[in-house]
């Protein structure tokens, strides 16, 4: 009976999700068809949609599963999620408008495009696309598996893991292929409403139900589990203050250039929509306290969870204490927290390949949107297939995902404000940084000496980039500074006429010949 109710609710919401996602294509307006319309929503999303989308893509299945699991296992170290997201939003106040105006002025649709333009080499875009894909694929799998466990749990076992994986893949792929970024934004609306409502409810209900209110719940944690409440947490294996500070800092720098975040930036209608969001988005982080605290509450209710089971800390409470229909609704919120980020991950992988890998082949270059859509299906199917056949491959890769992406920070952020950084410097730094990350992580030296391994690699990366820039060869590039550098005060309107949403970005080599203004001093 319970299973039928919860499963029906889940099924109904999946249909609604699909409908919303597919209908979003009608929101397209004038700029029909082009790659920029599909990849970055025609650069037309206002403050509200950007808020919903960016909150939607940052609040992933990890927030429900991993955050509760970390809270349950370690306690305090989980706060790093909060810290890096808040700091990231502050950095995004400058970086968001900067990338947005640069991309708009030169008709770019993603970070691969952006480095290809900055350094004047198409192959660099291709290389970055391949690197980013390797880093992003594991995230798609994490969302698929995350959705799988949630759906199986909330359907009281009625939907098997394998079917749950497939449903997640199928729903997401369908609407992404059709509606692109706009579809993700529309589905995000449903997602955010459900997430906010269910978490707010759980935040009140669970402590009341099990402990008789917040007072007794908090008193009990403070009295019985103080080890969980400060760094280094409970048996966290070296996740002390140094780790927290370096990880939060590294991630806050990385999140602003993360391809999915950048897709959100580029979708904005104006730079001010992004600035407003830098102010408004941190409020969403308050919600993150809920799974963290409830994960700790689960310590008293369902003690003894280990390994992957601890990720279900929150859902054990939900299934244990709520009626079936509420279990279903909470499950839908969590499932959508997998679907929305997964959609954007697939979208950016598709965009990167359609634009910078396949789009770089002259024979294929005039069908960039089509190729992007094909790659979405291929990437999603590959992640699904690996989930079924070799789940551990991508899990291992995911260890280096974020720290690997972090190595792009000098190439992108420093490169866009400092003209002297050379192609050779940026590439050597990136290469060395990646080697250091892989070396440390795969030999299980992360954290190394209490410091996030990615941060160590980033430091080496930066030193190498600067050294090669100063001592190495200097490629000839006679474009003016204004053509190559970016500024967050730029309005981005003097370039190819993308403002009208004409989808000009779909043309190969749309990189404009504009930039008449003097270089903004930084």
């Amino acid at each position: 009976m319970n299973a039928t109710i919860a499963t029906s609710i889940f099924a109904a919401f999946m249909v609604l999700t699909l409908a919303l996602g597919l209908l979003a294509v009608r929101g397209g307006g004038r700029g029909k068809g082009g790659l920029a319309e599909w990849s970055v929503g025609g650069r037309s999303l206002g403050t509200v949609f950007i808020w919903v989308l960016m909150a939607g893509e940052s609040y992933t299945s990890f927030s429900y599963l991993g955050a509760a699991g970390w809270g349950y296992n370690f306690g305090a170290p989980v706060l790093y999620v909060l810290a890096y997201m808040s700091c990231g939003y502050a950095i995004g106040f400058v970086v968001g408008p900067m990338l947005w105006s640069y991309a708009r002025r030169h008709g770019l649709v993603g970070i691969t495009d952006l480095v290809a333009h900055r350094y004047g080499r198409r192959w660099l875009g291709t290389a970055v696309a391949i690197l980013a894909t390797v880093c992003l694929l594991p995230y798609i799998q994490l969302q698929i598996t995350g959705m799988g466990v949630v759906v199986t749990t909330i359907s009281y076992g009625a939907i098997s893991l394998n079917w749950a994986y497939f449903i997640g893949f199928a729903v997401t792929t369908l609407f992404v292929v059709v509606s692109g970024l706009r579809g993700s934004a529309w589905v995000s609306v449903l997602k955010d409403v459900l997430v906010i409502a269910t978490l707010a409810f759980l935040a009140v209900y669970v402590p009341q139900h099990y402990f008789g209110g917040y007072g007794p719940f908090l008193d009990r944690i403070v009295a019985e589990k103080p080890q969980w409440l400060t760094f280094p947490g409970h048996h966290s294996g070296g996740l002390d203050q140094g780790w927290f500070i370096t990880t939060s800092l590294l991630n806050s720098l990385t999140v602003v250039i993360f391809p999915t975040t950048v897709a959100g930036y580029l979708g904005a209608r104006s730079a001010d929509a992004l600035r407003r969001n830098a102010v408004l988005l941190p409020f969403y982080n308050v919600l993150l306290f809920v799974p963290m605290l409830l994960g700790m509450a689960a310590l008293f209710v369902v003690p003894g969870l280990t390994g992957a089971d601890s990720n279900l800390a929150l859902f054990k409470l939900v299934v244990d204490s709520l009626p079936a229909w509420l279990v279903g609704v909470t499950g839908v919120a969590a499932a959508l927290s997998s679907i929305v980020p997964m959609a954007v991950f697939m979208l950016v992988i598709g965009t990167m390949w359609g634009r910078s890998v396949l789009g770089a082949v002259p024979r294929l270059a005039n069908r960039q949107k089509l190729w992007s859509q094909v790659v979405v299906v291929v990437a999603g199917a590959l992640a699904l297939l690996l989930t079924y056949t070799a789940p551990n491959t991508l899990v291992r890769l995911s260890l280096i995902s974020y720290e690997g992406m972090a190595q792009l920070v000098p190439m992108i952020l420093l490169g866009l404000v400092w003209r002297r950084l050379t192609l050779y410097g940026a590439v050597s730094g990136l290469a060395v940084g990646l080697v250091v990350v892989c070396g440390l992580v795969f030999t299980e030296h992360d954290p190394v000496g209490g410091v996030n391994a990615g941060m160590v690699a980033l430091a080496v990366n930066l030193v190498v980039a600067l050294a090669v820039t100063w001592l190495g060869p200097r490629p000839v590039d006679d474009r003016p500074d204004a053509e190559v550098l970016a500024s967050d005060l730029d309005t981005g309107e003097d370039g190819p006429s993308e403002a009208a949403g004409t989808g000009r970005g779909a043309e190969p080599g749309a990189a404009g010949e504009s930039g008449v203004s003097p270089s903004p001093a930084k």
Binding site: A76, L79, L82, A83, S86, C87, Y89, A90, I91, F93, V94, Y214, G215, L218, D219, I221, V222, P226, L229, T230, F231, Q241, F244, I245, S248, L249, S252, R275, R276, A278, V279, L280, P282, F283, N285, V286, F289, L293, S487, L489, D490, T491, E493, D494, S517, P518, P520, A521, K522
Partner: protein
């Protein structure tokens, strides 16, 4: 940065979450029942939007003082 000192507000979250961590890494005193570290992180989360807003306000004031730049405010200098 030097030309736009109000951007320094953007460092506030970094200071609150990361800079003062050694001082706030404690269970007591509890505030409203919350262990101190959790309370502090909640406070930082609520102050972050305020800090970013102050940076934004500073930027807009600066832009308003220089009406010369046509539409774009391109020359950040």
């Amino acid at each position: 940065m030097l030309k736009r000192p109000t951007l320094l507000w953007l460092l506030v979250p970094h200071v609150l979450y990361l800079g003062v961590l050694p001082l706030v890494n404690r269970v007591t005193p509890t505030v409203l029942g919350l262990p101190f570290l959790v309370f502090w992180m909640l406070l930082a989360t609520l102050l972050t939007p305020a800090a970013v807003w102050l940076a934004w306000r500073g930027d807009r004031k600066r832009a308003a003082r220089r009406p010369a730049a046509p539409a774009g405010e391109r020359g950040a200098a």
